[in-house]
């Protein structure tokens, strides 16, 4: 079941188109930055963007900050919204379920294939942006003639060794995957409610946009810790020295809560749903 879903994910051209689009955005930004060398003023614009001109190896982090707020959740919401509703509107859900396939297993398989997609897309962004960063913003060459990334400055001013950078980037990837699992759970639940893939994706995006607006509103302080997007940017804390775990832990926790509740809701709704078309 899971293998079937994964094969479906990697057979479809849209997977590669979306990953390509995600990789293209940091590339475009990097080309503009490298040719004009006008960094955004510190504290404004994307995180790390003003630092990458001197620190090419930090570009993967800047690329994450570029794709995370809008691009990545949109693609996850579209794919997750399509997961069940798409099958229903294409008329394939019926045949899928006529094969003796447990509905709970189908939901889990859909979720796992979404997680794999996020991993695939983020890895693609990381690799391409790292290559972009060291080609366009420079890397130091060691005496052995091997191109090594320069020591990266953490937010706290202390240098991060290349090994430390790899660990922190892995932590970032894991954290972003967890954050996107929350988005996928929202869209997947809506996808079991409606037969319209577009409607499910729009619904999930509506939730995210509302949450983003409320996060910036001081008056909504009371509910801020419960908003799904509140801790999205907490992965930046991996680049502080020492690593600030507080928001990372809370962010992972809240995504887990959303996952449990909404996947549960999807399960409760989907298991007894009449699949008519």
């Amino acid at each position: 079941m899971i293998r079937v879903e994964l094969a479906k994910l990697f057979r479809r051209p849209r997977t590669y188109v979306i990953a390509g689009l995600l990789c293209a955005l940091p590339l475009i930004v990097a080309i503009f930055l490298a040719t004009t060398r006008i960094p955004p003023p510190p504290g404004q614009g994307g995180a790390f963007l003003s630092a990458v001109l001197s620190n090419g190896a930090l570009y993967p982090a800047a690329a994450m900050a570029l794709v995370l707020p809008v691009f990545l959740p949109v693609s996850v919401a579209v794919l997750a919204g399509d997961a069940v509703a798409g099958e229903a509107s294409a008329g394939t859900l019926r045949y899928l379920l006529v094969r003796p396939v447990g509905r709970s297993r189908l939901l889990v398989a859909k979720l796992i294939s979404l997680v794999v997609f996020v991993l695939f897309a983020i890895s693609a962004v990381l690799v391409t942006s790292y290559l972009t960063g060291i080609t366009l913003f420079g890397a130091s060459t060691s005496s052995a003639g091997v191109a090594l990334p320069p020591d990266v400055t953490s937010l706290s001013g202390v240098t991060i060794s290349p090994a430390g950078l790899v660990l922190r980037l892995l932590g970032t990837v894991a954290y972003i995957v967890i954050s996107m699992v929350g988005v996928a759970a929202i869209a997947l639940f809506l996808s079991t409610v409606t037969d319209s893939a577009l409607g499910a994706a729009m619904g999930a995006l509506a939730v995210l946009v509302t949450s983003q607006v409320l996060v910036t509103l001081d008056a909504a302080q009371a509910i801020r810790p419960y908003l799904p997007t509140r801790y999205w940017l907490a992965w930046i804390d991996f680049f502080r020295e020492p690593v600030l775990w507080r928001d990372i832990e809370r962010g992972a926790g809240i995504q887990l809560v959303y996952l449990v509740v909404l996947l549960g809701a999807a399960w409760a709704n989907f298991l007894t749903k009449d699949v008519a078309n």
Partner: protein, 375 residues
């Protein structure tokens, strides 16, 4: 599907009953998860009220501080690092080993400004500016900064200023997981804008964990600073070591890290010995740019600003504030925030900036006195 046809009772099928059970399970889990933070907040607090909180500066700690100000000050040129913490939420990480060894990080989204105190010097690091600054020597006068707003620092300053003010006990409160007894400080002076200051401290170490300042006429605090996390272990040496200067980051050494320090070094000014009935306090050695008038929570600071900066500050304050009557030949404007009030007085020769938690009526008298002292 045949089970769906077996009616159970009135119109309910086995399938719908199963569905309802599943939904009940999901709702139950959701409620349970949502109740966790509420339960933590409502957990009863058992702590004896303290008669006296011994605030010691020798207690090492590390923690996570959040301060929130509702003052709504406009951004003033060169002073945004002062006005921002008073007008918004500031998140800080702090490590404290001793008065001569500590570190405070001001966290922003994708940025960080750190201040290190080492036995030799102070270091400030700004990631946005990619700049490390070594600050040498005593700073006889400096602008307030975010590191002054952690509960221990703010309470130390408030208590040093609050001689003879009334102190009453407050109900204990859970702050950063500690059952903290509280006390309320009510200033006696009629000229201050502060109605009361509420302080909660750790009962074992006497470390202030939360402070709230409420302005006169207000029902809720306009400034709150509190620990969200606190650990009473001494921080490690590595965390207190500032980054080393190296290629790729800017490095400067200075004795005057902010505008007030620069003014202090460049142009000594003479300020009146008393203003609006408040005597000028004994000057600190090396301090010439600013004068402190009054005592406790009804004190205010007067600074003479150099020409260009003075003009910009006056422009900004008169745009956002209101004009104040002043003797002919000079202008004055006031920004009243309820707690901290700012006055700027400008005459052809000089610009004065006056700031303090004092009533606007007092500042109006100060404006007249300053303008007359000049002529």
């Amino acid at each position: 599907m045949t089970v769906a046809l077996l009616h159970v009772g009135t119109g309910r099928t086995v399938v719908t009953a199963q569905g309802l059970r599943r939904w009940a399970l999901v709702l139950g889990v959701a409620l349970l998860l949502a109740a966790i933070p509420v339960a933590i907040n409502l957990w009863p607090v058992h702590a004896k009220a303290l008669d006296r909180i011994s605030f010691s500066s020798s207690q090492p700690y590390s923690g996570y501080v959040q301060s929130a100000g509702l003052l709504g000050l406009p951004a003033l040129p060169n002073l945004t690092q002062v006005t921002a913490p008073l007008s918004g939420t500031t998140e800080m990480r702090t490590w404290y080993a001793s008065p001569r060894s500590w570190r405070v990080d001001v966290l922003g989204e994708g940025t960080e400004r750190d201040l290190y105190q080492t036995p030799e010097a102070q270091y400030s690091w700004d990631f946005g500016d990619n700049q490390l600054i070594r600050i040498e020597g005593d700073q006889p006068v400096r602008l307030p900064r975010a590191a002054d707003l952690t509960p221990p620092e703010l309470v130390r300053w408030l208590l040093s200023a609050a001689e003879g003010d009334k102190v009453t006990g407050l109900a204990a409160k859970r702050v950063a997981g500690v059952d903290a007894p509280g006390l309320r400080l009510t200033p006696a002076s009629p000229d201050t804008t502060v109605a009361h200051v509420d302080i909660w401290a750790d009962p074992r170490h006497g470390l202030p964990l939360q402070a709230e300042i409420t302005a006169k006429g207000g029902t809720r605090p306009v400034f709150v600073t509190r620990f969200l996390e606190i650990h009473f272990a001494a921080p490690g040496a590595a965390v207190l070591t500032p980054p080393a200067p190296r290629a790729g980051i800017g490095y400067t050494v200075t004795e005057a890290p902010d505008i007030l320090g620069v003014i202090n070094r460049r142009r000594p000014v003479s300020l009146p010995s008393s203003l609006a009935g408040y005597p000028r306090r004994d000057a600190v050695r090396g301090l010439s740019a600013a004068g402190v008038y009054g005592t406790g929570l009804s004190s205010f600071v007067v600074t003479a600003l150099p020409g260009r900066f003075g003009a910009a500050a006056f422009g900004q304050i008169s745009t956002y504030g209101q004009d104040v009557p002043a003797p002919s030949g000079s202008q004055a404007a006031l920004i009243a925030t309820g707690l901290l009030n700012l006055l700027v007085v400008r005459d052809p020769g000089r610009t004065y900036l006056v700031a303090g938690p004092v009533a606007p009526t007092l500042l109006e008298r100060v404006a007249t006195a300053l303008a007359e002292a000049q002529t």
